[in-house]
Amino acid sequence: MAKSQSASLDRKKLMADPIMVSTIILLVVFLTVFILYPLAILLVDSFVSESGLTLDTFKRVMGLSNFRRAITNTLKVGFLVGIASALIGLLFAYVEVYVKLRTKFMEGLFKVVSMLPVVSPPFVLSLSMIMLFGKAGIITRFILHIYDNSVYGFWGIAIVQTLTFFPVCYMMLKGLLKNIDPSLEEAARDMGASRFKVFMTVTFPLILPGLGNAFLVTFIESIADFANPMIIGGSYDTLATTIYLQITGAYDKQGAAAMAVVLLAITLVMFIIQKYYLEAKSTATLSGKASRERMLITDKSVTIPLTILCSALAIFVIIMYICVPFGAMFKTWGYDFHLTFKWFGQVFTKYKGLKAFKDSFILSFISAPITALLSMIISYLVVKRKFKAKGFIEAVSMLAMAVPGTVLGIGYIRGFSGGIFGTGILQGLYGTGAILVIVFIVRSLPTGTRSGISALRQIDKSIEESAYDMGADSFKVFMTVTLPLIKDSFLSGFVTSFVRSITAISAIILLVTPSYLLITVQINEFAEKGSYGIACAFASILILITYSAVLVMNLVIKHFGTSRQVKTTD
């Protein structure tokens, strides 16, 4: 049996569609040049020397005691943060799905917690951690009267990262818990199991793969995190910060490349386990739709302790966020609590704040629509079309999710500072705003693509086929059918990518040139110097921007989104 005829016919049909063909070619080129090539160059850098293939660079960096320590540090933090985030996430998810929340206030708390990771810049919690618990911290110094508390180091990073990442686990696990058919648990209850027994023998085993999934996702986020260890790590270096220092401090580009390869290897392995093993397993065990609504737990001996625990955590997290704008309004944090606007003033008068906000805003605003459109196109191709390069496009755009920003940054330095393979091609890109925009796009592409893919999977294949059958070509089908149907996903992709870009730092800090001032880089700089007032002022304005972006998005979706259309005509 030969399938050659259908293959060649499919190819002919594809070729009859020039827009589609050029889109695919452009995508393949983009992904190869801006994701695969920078990673490949890191491998070349670290394995190839003048004398040919060698492990010398690895031997050299492995000989550095600070690097070895960074590896263990990173893994230790990642492990703890992964477990803690997954468990706290589970607690929140369980309470929301299983326990009757009595007050609007509690519902509000849960909503805020689920939104925080979307709107917050990554290092905000580090700032407030220092301001609440550091040497001059309000809680440590003024409430507990401890004058020499150090928040820097392992515990600082671990706590801050856990508080930053657990909402992601919460959202993931909430989705899984909602898919458990209540009758499974009712059957167990009916046979005489106590609530705790049901949780341990039914609910917990069912979501165990999902919990593992949440753990690994957080683990990857934690070890890829650059900003928090930078601000609150002190002398406790992680891989991301060590690599950064290796290139900015020791100017050892080869060594940094080899270190980046090590970090990449760790995240890649984790990512592959997560993506191809756990993710499939966690949804496979829970494919059943809930048959009807769950009877919520109203038993006070369960609800009261759980709600208190959750509220306490949620309020604590919220206080930490609120701490940031307050930090910008006192003369000297920890010593002089007179209200002042001088920090906000200085942002604009002394530290070129306007330019920083303008640069960050414009670059992010350019990259956001491109990312959103690109991820919708990729999702459309991956879900709805058959062609040869499809596997490549899907794999590479997902691979970008596993690449820590620091690794990508080093890859871009090594890959583009002398042009591609040192030939000078595309060298003009290096040091421009364009390369920053590209980094923003690459960093946000996987999230957008993922949301696009899941949105498109909901849409019956025959809807697009019918348009195609009526005489529309691929481009027309995409513009008149696909895109309107996933408008919500496009809009949220737009805003998510904007927010991610404007709050990004890890890759950007390695690539930015003095001609561009970026807010996040400024915050990092002032926090490093200990000028928390200025850092907080910058951060407050940044949160304001991201929060308004999300608000605007929600408004737009509410008024023009597809979900509303369906609702009103029902």
Binding site: S4, Q5, S6, S466, Y468, D469, G471, K476
Partner: protein, 353 residues
């Protein structure tokens, strides 16, 4: 209404798929040779997995054949994309565009053909009248019932005046009563529009009710192409006999031309090309025999049940069980379990395979 009725010809068409479990290739459709007359209504009929939908999707262009060539009229269309083919499909799930109202759904194909606004308005109004949806232009798709949605899908396919109309199990999402009335409707509209139609279904009564010809498929192979009557009275093989209507198969031996021996009794039956002494199976439809106190073949009643329109019997003849339906039971003698009865075959109802 159609500019030009087009015929469809499939020459040696095969489609190979990979079994996702074993990883082995298999023929979803094998060496199909089908000729569809312009203006006729043809049904691809068979159980699920027989290759009927794959065949339809190859005609529409969504799948490419691995062997053979498909002709639309006289034009080979293998390399054409669906949007370049003069076909229009009505989908099982209706596949209406949910963000458009009825008017825009029906007008979609016309707009792509760059017709002017006035023509579009007129054509859409006319076609909505034909399918019985006049005045519904501004409704959204989710404000319609399943039957209405399928009418919109039909209108949308008709309005672009395709050479061939394709139906992919269009009624299977509707309830039983609506299915019956919709299939008459589809047949009426097809006749009125005078368009070639290819219809996929697994429901044999639906196929019989609307088709000029049925193409019966099984496991990727075309088993029979004929009128519904021919398929019922002269099935090519046991599968067709059993799939179209109900059938009993009685073991028999050909005695001479048009005489066979069943259970020791000689019976008249068209034997076709079978030679004397050949072993064969006799196809007996449940309504093809009457019961009496005397007659040609004796049996014993194993099961007897009143079904309203008919009395349902299982009769044991030798070691074979035969299902018989006697219509109008009110006027007939009812036999109970254990009774001895004789089967009398009506003229021309037996067919030897």
């Amino acid at each position: 209404m159609s500019k030009e009725k087009k015929g469809v010809r499939l020459e040696h068409i095969s489609k190979i798929y990979k079994d996702p479990k074993t990883g082995k290739d298999f023929y979803a459709v094998k060496d199909a040779n089908i000729e569809i007359e312009p203006g006729s209504f043809v049904t691809l009929l068979g159980p699920s997995g027989c290759g009927k939908t794959t065949t339809l999707r190859m005609i529409a262009g969504f799948e490419s054949p691995d062997e053979g060539e498909i002709y639309l009229g006289n034009e080979p269309i293998n390399a054409l994309t669906p949007n370049k083919r003069d076909t229009a499909m009505v989908f099982q799930s209706y596949a209406l565009l949910p963000h458009y109202n009825i008017f825009d759904n029906v007008a979609y194909g016309l707009k792509l053909r760059k017709m002017d606004k006035e023509t579009i308005r007129k054509k859409v109004t006319d076609i909505l009248g034909l399918v019985g949806l006049e005045g519904m232009e501004n409704r959204m798709t989710n404000q319609l019932s399943g039957g209405q949605q399928q009418r919109v899908a039909l209108a949308r396919a008709l309005v672009i005046e395709p050479g061939v109309l394709l139906f992919d199990e269009p009624l299977s999402n509707l309830d039983a009563k609506l299915r019956v009335s919709m299939r008459t409707e589809i047949r009426r509209i097809q006749q009125e529009a005078g368009i070639t139609a290819i219809y996929v279904t697994h429901d044999q009564s639906e196929a019989m009710a609307i088709s000029d010809k049925v193409i019966i498929m099984k496991g990727g192979l075309v088993e029979q192409i004929s009128t519904p009557q021919e398929a019922y009275y002269y099935p090519n093989n046991k599968f067709v006999a059993d799939f179209i209507g109900e059938a009993n198969f009685l073991k028999a031996i050909v005695k001479s031309q048009d005489i066979v021996e069943i259970n020791g009794e000689e019976v008249k039956c068209s034997t076709g090309s079978l030679g004397n002494g050949a072993e064969c199976s006799i196809v007996l439809r449940p309504e093809g025999a009457t019961l009496g106190d005397n007659g040609s073949i004796m049996g014993e009643v194993e099961y007897s049940c009143f079904m309203g329109a008919y009395q349902d019997y299982h009769i044991k003849i030798g070691d074979e069980l035969v299902k018989i339906q006697e219509y109008n039971p009110k006027n007939k003698k009812i036999y109970g379990v254990g009774d001895k009865v004789y089967l009398n075959f009506e003229e021309n109802t037996l067919y030897a395979l």
